[in-house]
Amino acid sequence: MAPADSTRTRRELARVIFSRLVGMIVILVVVLASALATSYFAPWRYRSRVMMLARAGAGQATLEGRATLRERLSLFVVTQRELVRSDPVLAAALMKFHDESPSGPRGADGVQSYSPKQVEDYISANVGKLAVARRGVRVQTPGGTAAAFSQTYTITVEWPEDRSLAQWPTGTTRSEAANGAQKFARCLVEAYQRYRRELEIEQTRQNARFLKGPAAVVAKEELDEAAVELEAYIASDLKGDLLLVESMLSGISEMGFASLRTTFQAKINSADARLEELRILVREVAAELAKDQKKDGKGVQVSLPADTLKAKPSMIKLTDAIAQLRMELNKLNPRFTEDYKTLKQTQEELDLNLADLYTALDRQKQQLDLEIATLGAHREKLRDLVKEDEARISVLASKASKYKRLKQTFDNLQGIYNTRREEAAAAAKAAAQALEPLEVMQVGTPSLPASSSPHRPIIWLNVVIGLLAGIVLALTYAFLADHFDHSVKGIGDVETHVGVPVLASIPRIRRRIIRAS
């Protein structure tokens, strides 16, 4: 199946091409003829070349390194391309070429130049002419290793020969065109040099103005003021706190201060609690003492606070003894008469013991009072400490904010000053370079092109391109026309699109097929 299919495809392609062969040939011929005609009647051009040399002044060769100088030269030459082809230069050159009288001021060399107004008018009036001239002007840098301190570049001017049909085929304007190329090249170089010099002068003027300007000086003064203020503040107020303030500004010590404060507060709280406890104790002891003194102790229960008992083992012993004696006394009471002596003795012993207990209680009270006093003093001291600390922290914070403000001002001014200083340095460098700029010299005169060998289109190349384009166009035409042609072309067509068989296919027969008489 595959070979049959490919055969069918090939035949279909062949059919498309051969059925529109005439149209295709017409298209091909038209395209070829137009390519041939345009390249034959295209204007011939004459080229005049002039070589320019850009080199560093003697001072700069020593001032700058070889590498930077070479780069500066390359950059310079690249910018010259735009300069040569710029509107003002082309306009001035064209005006000079057409011998228009200049109205500008006389230069240092005594040659009168075109005024800016004149140049501008010319530019706006001759946009098309300038565009044509610009197409003919090229600036090229020769390849190869350039010398370190100089670089050459060529300005090429193309001048078309007028090959309009009026002069065809003799072409009497050949030598005129060649001379025109040379003359325009001369005018162009002159205009370019003049314009370049004007630009240089303008640049020098600008730089000088900037250097004289007060921007950098003002910045420096402001910076100095800020620095003095900052230093004075550090010396007078901050002193030893500088480190602390800086660490505070950077946020390290905040937590340290806070924890210190909580520790103090905890200590004070515990002292308060202990004081409260002791006070209650003292109050109870005092109450007990007062009760005993009033009733004179006899037969009275001495109820001592549990805490007091706990605190003093000697007192426990005493209370025990008192209890025992009381019991004995009770026991002895019935036997009072006989045992009166014993009773008396016991009574005395009891009194003695009671006296001892009171003394012990008194002593304890005194001790407690002392302890309370000591604790109170300690607490007061702590509170003072905390207050002092807080005061110090607030002072430090205000100091820190001021320090921060001063420091920021200083930093800002430092940045501004640095920028200004860089600008000033750049301007100074530019000024130095402007004082001793790269020299541009013309090497030789613009060449006079030989009138016998103009530059013209390569006809055979254009014909080949035209042939290819024609073939592509013709094929496009054939396939498009076939695509949009809906007529039935063969048996397959009818059967596909109409759906009935083809009974007979009659070829075109030139003679009559019916002979009648």
């Binding site: 035949r11 059925s19 070829p507 075109r508």
Partner: protein, 240 residues
């Protein structure tokens, strides 16, 4: 119509031999003979009458009809002049642009339109075209009475008459896409051959013509692709 019928039955033969015509020998003859075969002999219930028309004007329908009739008449073996089912009649019902008489070099005295409006008997207008067994009915003089001529009942009777005396009837008619004639006749004749000019007739026109004939009640047997060209030169064709 009764009268006419009787006359035909009594005298069905043309009196005069007014012309002679033949196909060019060789390739054209061969092609039209095979066309004849595929129209009349190819199927078991092959028609005896066939309508030849094209989609548009000037696509060669009349020429194809004449050539087909000549090929059929010439191929019949029996000598001319005899009556029988193998005789062929060519009817020109192209009322708008009749050309059969021009093709066969006949004078258009009277013809099928006269018969259909009932003015002349069939025998008066039948012409024999030699040397084969071909009779021809030219269009006649009453072309202006189009609507009378195309009345289906009359045409049906007329066709039945013809089929009684002739083996094969070939009717040339006006282009299907331009006039309703073909559609009307398709209801009577039933079988049609479409003539298309290659590189000229659009496939859409052919579709329209086919639909016309089918709408009238007929059937398109097939397409005759006329004036076919072979754009690829022979030496190229052999190589691709």
């Amino acid at each position: 119509m009764g009268e006419t019928e009787a006359e035909i039955q009594a005298e069905p033969r043309p009196q005069r031999q007014s012309a002679s015509a033949s196909l060019a020998g060789g390739r054209p003859e061969e092609i039209f003979r095979s066309l004849w075969a595929s129209v009349f002999y190819a199927a078991p219930e092959a028609p005896r009458s066939v309508l030849v028309c094209s989609a548009n004007r000037q696509e060669g329908a009349t020429t194809v009809a004449c050539a087909l009739a000549l090929a059929g008449a010439g191929s019949v073996a029996a000598p001319g002049g005899e009556s029988g089912p193998d005789r062929v009649v060519l009817v020109d019902l192209n009322l708008h642009n009749p050309a059969v008489h021009k093709q066969l070099n006949l004078s258009d005295g009277g013809g099928v339109s006269d018969v259909l409006v009932g003015e002349k008997p069939l025998a008066d207008v039948l012409r024999h075209v030699g040397p084969g067994k071909l009779d021809v009915l030219t269009v006649g003089t009453r072309r202006d009475r189009l609507l009378e001529v195309l009345r289906q009942d009359r045409v049906r009777d007329f066709l039945a008459d013809l089929e009684r005396h002739y083996g094969h009837v070939i009717i040339d008619t006006a282009p299907a896409n331009m006039y309703p004639d073909a559609q009307v006749l398709a209801g009577v004749v039933r079988s049609a051959v479409l003539v298309a000019q290659s590189q000229q007739t659009a496939r859409e026109s052919l579709q329209v013509a086919r639909k016309c004939i089918e709408a009238g009640g007929g059937k398109v047997l097939g397409v005759v692709l006329n004036m076919r060209t072979f754009p690829i030169p022979r030496f190229v064709y052999r190589r691709v």
